[in-house]
């Protein structure tokens, strides 16, 4: 296997920085030097990410401006995007309150409406769930959904169901959630270790 210099250099830098950061974060202020390294690297990371956002915005605009300029298919949507972007920038620069008003009256409303559609979609999906196939798992799922929904109703008559729902949420669901979080944590550790030892080199090429 040939080892390219650039690849080796990138790997060396990554591993070095990774270890310095880990050491700095672990030791904290007991070793200010390492802590300083960690802080600098983290800041560099955030700065880099911020730059990527800027680059992404520039690219987004360039793409859509090009589409508008060439009147490609769907250029009208690109035009909406460009105009909206420009309007927000201008409004924010000229009158921040107007920008905030736009945010609240347009974006918040639109996104809330989308959330409402999601509610409808979920209900309709549950409604049709048994259409294609009736199985035990489907029944279990539907039962759980109905149980949680019923238990959430503010009806004293449904107190027993509420208790069951609380138990479901506090025991099985909580256990599942913990399992998920533990899995995430383990995967994070593994992924970090793989990067630290150079096993994963997604930064290469």
């Amino acid at each position: 296997m040939r080892l390219k210099f650039s690849s080796a250099l990138a790997t060396a830098i990554t591993i070095s920085v990774g270890f310095l950061t880990v050491i700095g974060l672990l030791l904290g202020d007991r070793f200010a030097l390492f802590e300083g390294f960690a802080g600098v690297f983290l800041q560099l990371t955030t700065i880099t990410i911020a730059l990527t956002i800027i680059i992404g915005i520039i690219n987004l605009l360039s793409v859509h401006v090009t589409r508008v300029g060439r009147r490609k298919s769907g250029a009208i949507y690109s035009l909406v995007l460009v105009v909206s972007f420009t309007g927000v920038i201008v409004s924010y620069a000229v009158d921040r309150d107007t920008s905030m008003m736009l945010l609240e009256t347009v974006q918040i409303s639109v996104e809330s409406a989308l959330a409402g559609l999601l509610f409808f979609a979920l209900v309709y999906g549950a409604y049709r769930m048994m259409r294609h196939h009736v199985s035990g798992w489907n029944l279990l799922f539907i039962s759980a959904v109905l149980l949680v929904l019923l238990g959430s109703l503010p009806l004293s008559q449904l107190e027993p169901i509420t208790e069951v729902r609380d138990w479901v949420l506090s025991i099985p669901v909580n256990a599942g959630a913990r399992g998920l979080l533990m899995g995430v944590a383990l995967a994070t550790v593994v992924a970090g270790m793989r990067v630290l030892i150079g096993q994963d080199r997604s930064y290469r090429e």
Binding site: L103, M129, R131, L155
Partner: protein, 1523 residues
């Protein structure tokens, strides 16, 4: 001949058609040039080509650039008419084949089933070494000679075809080491730069130049069509008909049977044992003598027969010896005079002394058929070291059927290594290993190899088979077939070595056609011979008797009577079977047998026995060896079994898949009902492999053998008696023995005059019209004329042999062949390539494709690097696929004449394989890339019309039509519409006035459950002090705003009311702006100033990394706000925050802060989440609760979930419910108690730090003390005047804080809340203090009906249950508590931990109170002016004015009071602005929203339930209908 010979002249035969590869060019045997299908033109070691069916050369790839770019590597190996189904990539350079070197193997119509990396070779190498070291075995020993071999003559009994198996010079330690040790499977294995060093002779027709390889050097368009086709098996089927029938056979195996009769007999026989047969006498005399036996050869040839016409080298002697000593030095019986120098050991060109020196160098292969040259292609040891070593060398030029065996040794090694790590390839040719295992490929472990070696005792067979001893023979006494022919030359290499220094090599001269007179003269002589109607032996200077004698000498029948017959046979195969034990081993182990030693396609020992008149009678075979050589007893089943044991399973056994010996040897032709296995009979055997198939390409079929040996194919069939059948064997021998002639001669009609060479007929058959004007014997002037007669006369670009002669008259062939292609400059190479292109403009382009290579690995090499595996060796899944394939519904292919010509026995073939998406029977629809499409097009082009059934959609316009447009108003749409309508109405109608009946359900609880995360959250915020700084992470977007805004608002109001300084940050830029808006709305109402009272901070990029970076850079991160303005905040660390709150709609938001921030600070962390995220936030909440004991903050300490908790939060803050009462009001009212405020401790004055305490203020504090002292009195006298709607009074009265926080209200009587009014002149009574008790027992406790253990148990409380304490007994040993159901009960005091909390009260006593104005308070916050009881307060306000309090200096506790006051305001619906209405005015339709949510839930439940029921019923109905 000159050393300056222009090598360009040789390019016609060179296969270095590309620009970058040196190719091999060492062909000088034209008869073998036909083997141009072999891959000896590629960069790989020549591989075996075991395609069996009409497969066609369908592979292609692209790598003429020679770079590493991926290219299509074609490969095909198929059993059956499969067509090329796949192509693969193999651009891996030699040095990096580990992952890309591909290989495919298929069995049946399976397509590409597997591939593997070539790196297995290196693994195998290491394993081999390990095995060697571990077992002490040198695998090379299998190839090396040993003493027994030497004793018995080693390999000198090998038939000449075996002699061709040139091996690396094992005398050369380097070569040997390299061969068997380090370099065998190294990457250099495929580095052929040094392999094809020698250019090819230039005297072949250019169309033949193509026969040296697959590629561009093939001038196939100029070649006779039938020959051009031979390189492509598929096309051969079509074009074979055009070929001369006798030559058509050379390209394919099957046709041999049919058309061999039409071929010049001498040619049909060449290259095979057939050379020994009768038809040889038809061949030109110069050819008939080469390497083949001829029945016309004098039966015996004395060593002193020199001087006869027979070529000296064949005559075995002559007068070439310059002295007797020299002669003696050669051998007792043979000499090498006149032998072609590739065979001769003596001084070529000057027949005479044979060079007895063992082969040391390999420079002298000139003139040797390339397949015989073997290792001699190398110019020097260095080249040899770098070459492929054993397999490559052995295969370099060896007939493919032979090379296949050798190459497969390498391949099998990899294969074995691939399939089983422990296996080890013993370098045995596959046909050999197949025999050993009865047909199944069995990759031996080293242990097995050892066992086998032990069983064999020696490996002479193997050694001799591959001529291993050739390289070790130094003993002049060693028998050598070639030595017998030419003198004691030891081996081919010796022959070749002996010509090392010859500068005037001349094949024709060596043939005795005049000294150095070249082929022209030879042909002249030949023609003369024709003219003279002489026989072939006459051409060679032999008269019949002498020739017979000579042949008899060479192939002398062993004297079985002397008991050495077996030894003869041993000699033939280099075996020493004298040891009975050894044979026992053979039998026991089913180990090595003579038949196994035979290369695939070569007759078994039985054949040979009969051929050579040997009698393997049992008496000569030691016990234990009977199985091998004993006459089978066909009368018994056991006999057949024995044969089965010997050759594998065949005959009576009908196991189709079992390996049949006929696949390797034509043994069945000897032992089966049909001794020579005619095709007619074999065709009836379900298409089983036939000897003809196993015969090397171009070699006679068994049918030919039948005729040659005069064997009646029907002989056995005519006899039902097994004994008779076998007697044929014995009778012939007996007859021969009786006559004293070799019985093999008895099979040959030696006296048949017509079988004598008939050059004229031969030449006529070649289509050569003799020059009538030429003098007799000169009709064919030179070989050019001869070669030019091969159909196509466009080979004008060929160098003429005459030209060669004209160059100097003494062309140095040695020099020509010594030329290392590397010596040829790039320019010359390019010129060569150009030449090829120019001279072959119509050459099929696919030939270019075929010949290219990728990283040194050519497609053809890959083709030959694999072979069919038996079904049993395949993985299960592939076997299953195979079975499925057999069951596949497919069309029966037509057995065309072309197929029949290739596979005569084929009774059925599979039809063309459909690729398609439309008619596919086996392959799923293919999605082809553009590149793949182009390749399919190429495939189509190559396959012509045979692929008409390909169903691939190649054109974009052939895409399937779109599905029919959906109906606009389908049932599903209607269904959706109704569901949407139901849900929409459910959430909208509750907001409609007059539809209060839709206000279903109960409002959220007025208080959080004791011990819950919610109450923890509330208490945590409530514990903040004015001036504290709280960090709020608004990690949510607008989508969740409807659910989370309420909680955020409640918390912010709570904080701001307490004077807390909130700082908002977010990893969601929109969330940051939105949260900032929420905060600013509240702050604006409270006249708060950004960056003085609150800050909308930064956007934290990078999610978890951003959060972590924020923790590391707190000072700078909070130094500026979202707009870059300075915040003037002086915060050094997270600990400087009093509280951190995460508002998140994603679990990642909670997780990032809980994991990245919480461990870094002691500041409490709390969360506000949506209902959906709560389950994933709950673990962190519990972790935090659990960690309190350890003092580690690793979680969140409080949690507000969704709108429900927000509603309760607001209620707790004092916002009245619909009935106008606050939450705790309702609780208290349900169990009216008399609350008697008691001063439990002396108030302390703790002015807010933001206040500048003045004397007036201090006095006011004193006044407060008075108030507290008079509290009881005030209650009693009911003189308390509560001033509602005067929140500003409390806001500006820091004393209120002191009072409320220090007073413990103790309910003493069952009084109404109105009795709990605070004393006059103080707003503090607006807050009531109540006691809660938490069960501190670890077990459940009893709640009794009275303050005594004798009282009955009314209820049970669980550990940590929290109850409201409403009373106590006299000695305070029992508390009266209020249960959840509203009933009171008594609990022992020691079982409860009591805590006091502040709750708002509803002082109904102040009905008359009005609003008032307070100076210093913003106008919008002022109450009514007519507040009667505000005078004193006003005074306080005035006093406050003196200290100039600011709004930001409002202590939080004052806000609580304000809330309380507002809660008690009956006029909440008034239009008057006040703090409460402003503070909570942002949540409009608070109750309606709740009812809408409730009704929406109900609707959802109904819809889901109904849908589920309907669908289940529908499913049941379908099931009932049996659908």
């Amino acid at each position: 001949m000159s050393d300056d010979f222009d090598r360009d002249d040789l390019d016609w035969l060179s296969d270095d058609g590309d620009d970058d590869e040196s190719r091999r060019n060492d062909d000088d045997d034209l008869s073998l040039e036909l083997d141009w299908l072999r891959d000896d033109n590629d960069d790989q070691p020549a591989k075996r080509d075991d395609r069996l069916g009409v497969t066609g050369e369908l592979s292609w790839r692209d790598d003429d650039s020679g770079n590493d770019a991926p290219a299509q590597g074609g490969d095909d190996r198929r059993t059956g008419v499969t067509g090329q189904l796949s192509w693969l990539e193999d651009s891996v350079p030699d040095s990096d084949k580990s992952s890309r070197g591909d290989d495919e193997r298929r069995t049946g119509v399976t397509g590409q089933l597997s591939w593997r990396g070539d790196s297995r070779e290196s693994e195998f190498e290491s394993q081999l070494e390990e095995a060697e070291s571990a077992a002490g075995i040198d695998p090379s020993s299998f190839l090396e000679s040993d003493s027994s071999a030497e004793d018995t003559g080693g390999n000198d009994a090998l038939p000449e075809w075996m002699q061709g198996m040139d091996m690396p010079d094992l005398d050369d330690d380097e070569g040997e080491d390299d061969l068997y040790e380090d370099d065998l499977y190294e990457d250099d294995l495929y580095d052929e730069d040094d392999l094809y060093a020698d250019p090819l002779p230039d005297d072949a027709p250019e169309w033949l130049s193509g026969t040296g390889g697959l590629g561009e050097q093939v001038n196939s368009d100029e070649a006779p069509s039938w020959l051009a086709d031979t390189g492509s098996l598929g096309d051969a089927a079509e074009n074979a008909d055009e070929a001369p029938s006798w030559l058509a056979d050379t390209g394919s195996i099957g046709n041999v049977a049919e058309s061999a009769d039409e071929a010049p007999s001498w040619l049909a026989d060449t290259g095979s044992l057939g050379g020994m047969v009768e038809d040889t006498n038809d061949a030109p005399s110069w050819l008939s003598g080469t390497g083949s036996l001829d029945d016309d050869v004098p039966a015996a040839q004395e060593k002193s027969t020199g001087g006869l016409d027979i070529p000296d080298w064949l005559s075995g002697g002559g007068d070439g010896y310059e002295s007797d000593d020299e002669y003696e030095a050669v051998d007792d019986d043979e000499d090498v005079q006149g032998v072609p120098d590739w065979l001769a050991t003596g001084e070529t060109g000057s027949p005479g002394t044979a060079d007895l020196a063992p082969a040391a160098d390999h420079d002298d292969a000139r003139g040797v058929p390339e397949w015989l040259q073997g290792s001699d292609v190398y110019d020097d040891d260095e080249d040899e070291e770098e070459a492929y070593e054993f397999a490559e060398e052995a295969d370099a030029g060896v007939p493919e059927w032979l090379s296949g065996g050798m190459q497969s040794a390498v391949s099998d090694a990899s294969e074995a290594d691939y399939y089983e790590d422990d296996d080890i390839e013993t370098a045995v040719p596959d046909w050999l290993s197949e025999q050993q295992t009865g047909g199944d490929f069995n990759y031996q472990t080293i242990e097995e190899a050892q066992a086998e070696e032990a069983a064999i005792g020696n490996v002479d067979e193997f050694d001799s088979l591959f001529g291993e001893d050739d390289f070790a023979l130094e003993d002049e006494d060693e028998f050598d077939l070639l030595g017998e022919l030419t003198g004691d030359v030891g081996n081919v290499d010796s022959l070749l070595e002996s010509t090392a220094d010859e500068d005037d090599f001349d094949l024709l001269g060596e043939l005795g056609v005049g000294e150095s007179s070249g082929m022209t003269d030879m042909l002249t002589n030949m023609e003369n011979a024709v003219a003279e109607d002489d026989d072939i032996f006459g051409d060679f200077g032999l008269d019949d008797d002498e020739a017979d004698e000579e042949i008899a000498t060479i192939f002398a029948k062993p004297d079985f009577g002397s008991g050495t017959a077996d030894d003869d046979l041993d000699d033939l195969f280099g075996m020493d079977d004298d040891g009975a034990d050894e044979y026992e081993d053979y039998e026991d182990d089913d180990a090595f047998t003579p038949a196994e030693a035979m290369p695939s396609g070569v007759m078994s020992d039985a054949d040979l026995d009969s051929l050579f008149g040997m009698d393997d009678d049992a008496e000569q075979i030691p016990e234990g060896g009977e199985t091998i050589f004993a006459k089978p007893d066909f009368a018994t089943d056991a006999a057949d079994d024995e044969l089965d044991d010997l050759f594998g399973n065949f005959g009576d056994d009908e196991e189709e898949d079992a390996f049949a010996p006929s696949e390797a040897v034509p043994a069945d032709s000897m032992f089966d009902t049909d001794p020579f296995g005619t095709f007619a009979n074999d065709e009836e055997e379900d298409g089983a492999f036939t000897p003809a198939e196993a015969m090397p390409s171009g070699v006679m079929s068994d049918a030919e053998l039948d005729s040659l040996f005069d064997v009646n194919d029907d002989y056995a069939d005519d006899s039902d008696d097994d004994e008779d059948r076998f007697d044929w064997f014995g009778e012939e021998e007996a007859s021969a023995a009786e006559s004293g002639d070799p019985d093999w001669l008895s099979n040959v009609d030696a006296s048949d005059a017509e079988a004598m060479p008939n050059d004229q007929s031969f030449l006529a058959e070649l289509g050569i019209e003799p020059d009538a004007d030429a003098p007799a014997g000169r009709q064919f002037r030179d070989v050019d004329d001869y070669l030019s007669t091969f159909g196509d006369n466009r080979s004008l670009a060929l160098p003429q042999t005459g030209d060669l002669a004209e160059l100097s008259g003494n062309v140095d062939f040695d020099d020509l062949f010594d030329s290392d292609i590397d010596d040829i400059g790039e320019e010359e190479k390019h010129a060569t390539a150009e030449f090829e292109r120019e001279s072959n403009p119509d050459r099929p382009s696919w030939l270019d494709d075929v010949n290219v290579n990728v990283g040194g690995v050519s497609a053809s090499t890959m083709i030959r690097g694999q072979k069919d595996a038996s079904i049993e060796d395949l993985p299960d899944r592939l076997q299953a696929l195979h079975e499925r394939g057999k069951e596949m519904r497919g069309k029966q292919g037509e057995v065309t004449a072309g197929i029949k010509s290739i596979l005569p026995e084929a009774s059925e073939v599979l039809s063309d394989v459909d690729f398609g998406v439309t008619e596919s029977a086996m392959i799923a629809p293919l999605n082809l890339s553009t590149e793949q499409r182009s390749q399919v097009n190429i495939l189509r082009t190559l396959a012509g019309g045979s692929m008409s059934g390909v169903g691939v959609l190649l054109d974009d316009d052939e895409q399937p039509q779109r599905a029919a447009r959906r109906r606009l108003l389908s049932g599903r749409v209607v269904e959706r519409f109704f569901i949407l309508l139901i849900l929409a109405l459910a959430v909208i109608l509750p907001f409609v006035d007059g539809l209060s009946f839709l206000h279903v359900g109960e409002l959220p609880p007025p208080a959080f459950e004791a011990g819950s995360g919610q109450i923890a959250f509330f208490n945590e915020v409530d514990s903040l002090n004015a001036g504290d700084i709280a960090l709020i992470a608004a990690e949510y977007g607008p989508t969740s705003a409807a659910e989370l805004d309420a909680g955020l608002q409640a918390m912010l109001i709570h904080m701001l009311g307490k004077g807390v300084y909130p700082v908002i940050v977010s990893g969601n830029p929109v969330g940051l702006l939105h949260a900032g808006n929420v905060l600013e709305d509240i702050a604006e109402d409270l006249a708060l100033v950004e960056n003085q009272d609150y800050t909308v901070g930064r956007y934290l990029v990078g999610d978890a990394i951003g959060v972590r970076a924020f923790t590391e850079t707190i000072p700078s991160a909070v130094a500026s706000d979202s707009q870059g303005r300075s915040t003037n905040l002086d915060i050094d660390s997270l600990d400087d925050f009093a509280l951190i709150v995460i508002v998140a709609d994603r679990s990642e938001g909670i997780r990032n802060w809980a994991e990245q921030v919480a461990p870094e600070t002691t500041t409490p962390l709390m969360g506000i989440t949506t209902f959906a995220v709560a389950p994933l936030a709950q673990p962190y909440l519990q972790a935090a609760n659990g960690s309190f004991a350890s003092g580690i903050n690793d979680g969140i300490t409080g949690l507000i979930v969704g709108y429900r908790d927000a509603y309760t939060y607001l209620t707790l803050l004092g916002v009245p419910q619909e009935d106008g009462q606050s939450a705790l009001d309702a609780i208290i009212e349900e169990t009216p108690v008399e609350v008697v405020p008691e001063i439990t401790e002396t108030p302390t004055i703790e002015p807010s730090p933001t206040f500048t305490a003045t004397a007036d203020v201090t006095e006011e504090v004193i006044a407060t003390e008075e108030v507290t002292e008079d509290a009881t009195e005030a209650i009693e006298t009911e003189e308390v005047v509560v001033t509602p709607n005067t929140p500003t009074a409390t806001r500006v009265t820091p004393t209120a804080t002191t009072v409320t926080t220090q007073v413990t209200a103790t309910p003493t009587t069952m009084s109404s809340p109105t009795q709990t009014a605070t004393p006059a002149n103080s707003p503090t009574p607006a807050v009531e203090l109540i006691r809660f008790g938490t069960v501190n027992s670890t077990t459940s406790i009893n709640v009794r009906s009275g303050p005594s253990t004798t009282s009955s148990v009314a209820a049970v409380l669980r550990p940590r249950d929290r109850v409201l304490i409403i009373d106590e007994n006299d000695d305070a040993s029992w508390y009266q508590v209020l249960l959840e159901d509203g009933t009171p009960g008594w609990v022992a005091a020691f079982l409860l931990d009591v805590e006091v909390e502040m709750v708002p009260v509803t002082p109904v006593a102040t009905q008359s109170s009005g609003k008032r104005r307070v100076d210093g308070v913003p106008e919008r916050l002022q109450g009514d002016d007519d507040a009667d009881a505000t005078a004193e307060v006003t005074d306080e306000a005035q006093a406050t004015e003196e200290v100039q309090p600011t709004a930001t200096e409002i202590p939080a506790e004052a806000t609580e009071e304000a809330v309380a006051v507002d809660a008690n305001n009956d006029d909440t619906d008034s239009d008057d602005e006040n703090l409460l209405s402003l503070g909570f005015g942002n949540i409009d339709y608070r109750d309606e929203r709740w009812y809408a949510m409730t009704l929406g839930l109900i609707a959802s439940i109904v819809v889901i339930f109904v849908g589920t029921i309907l669908n289940v019923l529908r499913a049941l109905a379908r099931r009932r209908r049996g659908e």
